[in-house]
């Protein structure tokens, strides 16, 4: 006897335990991760201040960003600097360091891993020391040392002078962004099949760079994509560093990023519609960069 083909509905009923197990998490996931994004998209087409009813205004918010808000252009440019300069730099440094320490003894490897990861987890507590390094009088570490060596005559306002805000933020962001992608690479390198290296030697691989390019990178591509996603999220959402070190708003908006601009319009000016439009744009930018990076990683070593 031929068994009757099961309909999708029957299949869903039979698999109800699977759905029930996911349900509690999915409720929270939907309400606090997905719904906010849906709400952002909807509100981005409105004028909304949380008091009066949202007023539909079409694409006006999106046009305002690029046509009528000079500080958004600064924020956009700064965010791209973090994404295009700091992100890849941090990613490549993480990758190379993880590669270099892979051959160290386990204890040394653990020490170096901790050293590179700890700045990421102390984040908030670390800001006060950077404030002290770059403070504007001669008690600030950087000013103190440069003046002592005779390089500077006058202390520099590292965090209040438009010229220096971004470079300082880049250094600090670099310091605290090694975290998760570094751990991922450490794990990735340890997991590469050793016999591939032996086989590679037979095939005429001459030095460690060829080994890295033709064997290691292709075999840990999936880890590299995960590391890239984490790095992209970190770079595109840089905000706390800027707010904590340079203030909100920073002098002449020099340290403004898209997220600090969202804070400015959302928390201080109550222009929720406009702020949401910026958030939506940011999500699209991150998605695009993720696609681009995965494509690049897929190309490597082939």
């Amino acid at each position: 006897m031929k068994p009757k083909k099961e309909s999708t509905l029957e299949l869903i009923v039979r698999k109800k335990t699977s759905y029930l197990m996911m349900l509690p998490y999915l409720i929270f996931f939907f309400a606090f991760t997905i719904l906010p994004v849906i709400l952002s998209v909807v509100l981005s087409f409105t004028d909304y201040d949380m008091v009066q009813k949202p007023l539909f205004i079409g694409f006006e918010n999106y046009l305002q960003m690029f046509l009528n808000d000079e500080y958004f252009i600064v924020a956009f440019k700064n965010t791209l600097i973090f994404a295009i300069v700091v992100g890849p730099l941090s990613y490549i440094i993480c990758f190379l360091i993880a590669w270099m320490i892979n051959e160290l003894k386990p204890l040394m490897r653990a020490v170096v891993t901790a050293l590179f990861y700890i700045p990421t987890i102390v984040g908030a507590a670390g800001w006060s020391v950077w404030k002290l390094f770059f403070s504007s009088d001669e008690y600030g570490f950087v000013n103190g040392i440069l003046m002592h060596w005779g390089i500077l005559n006058q202390p520099i306002g590292w965090l209040s002078d438009e010229k220096y805000i971004m470079p300082v933020l880049i250094v600090v962001q670099l310091w605290m962004s090694m975290g998760i992608s570094f751990l991922t690479f450490i794990a990735g390198f340890q997991n590469v099949d050793r016999t591939l290296y032996e086989a590679g030697m037979m095939d005429g691989i001459k030095n460690r760079f060829q080994e890295l390019w033709y064997i290691t990178i292709p075999s840990m591509a999936n880890q590299m994509i995960f590391g890239a996603v984490m790095q992209i999220v970190a770079c595109f959402t840089v905000a706390d560093v800027s707010v904590q070190l340079a203030g909100l708003p920073s002098t002449g908006y020099a340290g403004e990023t898209i997220v600090t601009h969202i804070m400015d319009y959302g928390n201080l000016r109550y222009e929720f519609g406009y702020a949401c439009a910026m958030a939506v744009l940011l999500v699209f930018m991150m998605q695009y960069f993720k696609k681009l990076t995965s494509w690049l990683i897929g190309k490597m070593g082939h």
Binding site: I12, K15, T17, S18, Y19, M21, M22, P24, L26, F29, A31, F32, T33, I34, P36, L39, S40, L43, M100, E103, V112, A114, L115, F116, I118, P119, I121, V122, G123, A124, A125, G126, S128, V129, W130, L132, F133, S135, Y139, F141, G144, I145, M147, W175, L183, T184, A187, M201, K206, R208, Q223, F226, V229, M230, V233, T237, V259, A279, V283, Q287
Partner: protein, 292 residues
């Protein structure tokens, strides 16, 4: 004979690593290591300098007379706060422990069917969860604020707790890890008559311990460092970090030593947790690969 042959083979691999190359590698690691370690070191020495050494010119990298004065001053400042410091500490610990616990419990329970069951809508669900990796708090905080206020959760512990339970990263890591558990183990339990819930709690959960410990670290660090002040404005409900921010922000110079002491205290819990659990983290990240 065979021994020397073996050694020769081993040498073959080593020969590709030249002495010069090794020296450069060591130099780079040391330089970058100094860059990573220096701010941490400086925070620590500033916190144990006596006040006359804090303001020496030029700034010194060593201490002549270490003291715990700054810590004493910090606790004095704390005891003068309107809300006792122990209350902030209690809030932080409660939210961190509860948030981490519920996230691990619920996300782990959802990760099991996503990793091991076949059902309609599975791929779609997981794709949306992956997308959620990018919907972080910095991007969604405004609509989240609206949702929390509409649910009447503003100014309660729930305002901190609920958003942390529904994040993606922990679920992703646990799902990837569960996929490595052999199907035979699960089948055997099914034959013995265990239902799926029992399988999850008796077989899956104990076997994904490294992943769970890793998620605990990530969650702990996020919650410990990042509870936003917007959703909770009652001083009684605020977290340690916000209290310390207020102390160190109020006047950086007069209280510099105390501020640094506060930083050291705030840094310690995540560092200790990471050092203890490091091996589990590396093991978990092995499976964190993401296909395109």
């Amino acid at each position: 004979m065979s021994l020397s042959l073996k050694r020769k083979k081993h040498m073959g691999i080593d020969q590709r690593r030249s002495k010069f190359g090794n020296a450069i590698v060591v130099l780079i690691i040391v330089l970058l290591g100094l860059f990573m370690a220096f701010p941490l070191y400086y925070t620590f020495i500033q916190s144990i300098k006596p006040s006359e050494e804090l303001f020496l010119f030029p700034p010194k990298l060593y201490i002549l007379r270490p003291t715990l004065d700054s810590y004493q001053e910090l606790f004095q400042l704390m005891s003068n706060l309107w809300v006792p410091f122990s209350r902030y500490l209690f809030n932080s610990l409660l939210i961190t422990v509860a948030g981490t616990f519920f996230h691990v419990l619920l996300a782990g329970m959802a990760a099991y069917p996503l990793a091991k069951h076949e059902f309609p809508g599975k791929d779609f669900t997981f794709a949306v969860i992956l997308l959620g990796l990018m919907f972080v708090g910095q991007v969604t905080f405004l609509p989240t604020f609206i949702i929390i206020s509409k649910l009447g959760m503003l100014n309660t512990y729930w305002a901190y707790l609920c958003p942390t339970i529904g994040t993606s990263l922990g679920l992703f890591l646990m799902k990837q890890f569960i996929e490595q558990i052999p199907d035979a183990l699960i089948e055997a339990a099914r034959i013995d008559g265990a239902n799926e819930w029992r399988i999850y709690f008796k077989i899956i959960a104990p076997n994904v311990k490294p992943a769970i410990l890793t998620v605990i670290i990530f969650q702990f660090v996020n919650i410990w460092n990042g509870l936003s002040k917007e959703v909770v404005y009652d001083e009684q409900l605020k977290a340690v970090k916000i209290a310390l921010d207020q102390v160190s922000a109020s006047s950086l110079y007069a209280r510099m030593g105390a501020g640094m002491a506060g930083s050291v205290l705030l840094m310690l819990p995540p560092i200790i947790l990471f050092v203890i659990l490091q091996r589990n983290v590396v093991e978990t990240m092995t499976f964190a690969g993401m296909k395109e």
